[in-house]
Assembly symmetry: C2
Homo-oligomer: 313 residues x 2
């Protein structure tokens, strides 16, 4: 019998489930995806994942006893017992995810919130390597966050720590966030938020710019910034001001070593930091001005790496 | 030889050092104070504390070997190695506090930030008993905070986690906080902050009120609230709005079970919660609306209890 041990890292999303089969030393042996079947309150999701795991073990000739665990990130707050109280994206109501997945697979499972799990992945193998206190900020359709303290995910009472997209950074805002509140960081620093800022700026604009408010993405804005477009630079400054202010607030609470910035907006690259650092320093508590900024490195794989790390911990 | 073990809890402040001598089961045997001699960069402070500890052991006939540790809270950010980089209140510059105190006493010492240590005390023996995820908010001359996650102090990279008095809750503020920034929670929710809000409201006021802007304290404001004074109620509403907004931000980051409110302003009692809870709910992320609020119970003793707990951990 082999001495080698294995684990699975699973990243459950609204359209696909990303899966990784890992050696216990962290080397990934296989990555693949299956469909997320959300119909009927998502009743097929866990059986589909279990079937994929069993198929992979059969394909590889690995027996279940050599698998130390399954880690899984899911798009909902989840408590330490692996229980969720509803996840709109995938159709679940109350669900004992850990218990069900363990019953289906016979393998110890650890469940975490997807943003938190991705943060763990970035600490382990990505932009946060070498640090134990980090905050991963994911600037995607929304703004997600994951807080790692002393190498472990800060889960929170309701599994909702690190919800930094819903920190208020503008108490004068009148537009509503998807969460129903106003002035959330997500309204300015997500990909959709950047587009919103751009449209506001371009409304009735007479200054010269390559940007076209009828067809604009966050990428368009930052591409224009790189080309020296002054209007785009103003939009990026506004984005950076809100994000910098929000991160100064996060520092006041958890005082991290480093912010690791990921998600679609972060593909703009290090140019982002030039817009964020100034406002951060303006609002940061004196002891927290030396914080570092880095780009996330694992992209869409952060979730499976973090889930594997969760299984191995 | 006795089987009983002991510890010391020390709360170092700018004018006095509060000291407690505890049994390892948490019972306090003695509480007393000594002067904080801040002259000459505070060079006498640690020797004075060590002398007080030696004297107490001699008085009690306890030998050093039966003391499991000394815990101490100090008014400065301090890292996990017990090193501070300056504390204006007591005259210290860079100081290896843990090492020096251990050399002076021969007893293992653990050093924490005073607000964090007081939070640990409230979890152990005060308003946060029974909870493992709590945030203690101290509304005194300033606003201090201590974040406890899974029963342990969240220290932060620079020892400055929980600096929630310096979260920005008003980006339009023009008055400066003591820290040099503007719009800090401390400018509205500390005892001095409440007075500032009161003076703003009373400037040119023509409405009937018992408040007198030439001689006013936070206590005056809340006493007037209890008497039904409408102007005082408006001031308390403004205080509560800022505090509720700030705590909603804290929840988004660390998602606690409970906020434990202490410090001089909290002597107004549970009436405070009526002003804080509405604004909290208005700004809190949906998963965090069930958070609890409680009053701190240990008053000035929170620091020595928390320090003792630190020594015992």
């Amino acid at each position: 019998m082999s001495e080698m041990k294995y684990c699975f890292g699973v990243d459950l999303g609204g359209t696909t489930v990303k899966m990784g089969f890992f050696q216990a030393d962290g080397e990934v042996l296989d990555k693949w995806e299956i469909e997320t079947r959300t119909e009927n309150q998502g009743e097929n999701i866990l059986p589909d994942i279990a079937a994929a795991i069993h198929a992979k073990l059969a394909e590889r000739g690995v027996c279940r006893e050599d698998v130390v665990g399954i880690g899984m990130g899911i798009p909902a707050p989840v408590n330490k017992e692996g229980v969720v109280n509803g996840s709109a994206n995938i159709g679940w109501g109350y669900k004992e995810v850990k218990r069900e997945l363990e019953e289906l697979t016979g393998i110890t499972s650890v469940i975490g919130n997807d943003a938190n799990v991705a943060a763990l992945g970035e600490m382990w193998k990505g932009g946060g390597q070498g640090y134990k206190n980090l905050v991963v900020v994911t600037l995607g359709t929304g703004v997600g966050g994951g807080v790692i303290v002393d190498g472990e995910i800060l889960v929170g009472t309701n599994g909702a720590a690190g919800e930094i997209g819903h920190i208020c950074v503008d108490y004068n805002e009148t537009d509503k966030c998807g969460c129903g509140k106003t002035g959330c960081l997500e309204q300015y620093a997500s990909a959709t938020g950047v587009v919103r800022l751009a449209k506001r700026r371009l409304e009735g604009n007479t200054d010269e710019t390559v940007l076209n408010m009828d067809s604009i993405s966050a990428k368009d804005v930052f591409d224009a910034v790189k080309a020296g477009d002054k209007v785009a630079i103003e939009i990026a400054e506004e984005f950076g001001r809100y994000l910098g202010y929000g991160l100064a607030t996060v520092s006041a609470v958890v005082d991290p070593d480093i912010f690791v910035i990921g998600g679609g907006v972060s593909r703009a690259g290090e140019i982002l930091f030039g817009f964020v650092e100034g406002p951060y320093l303006e609002r940061a508590f004196f002891a927290q001005k030396e914080v570092k900024f880095a780009l996330a490195e694992l992209g869409n794989d952060a979730g499976i790496y973090g889930a594997a790390k969760l299984a191995l911990s």
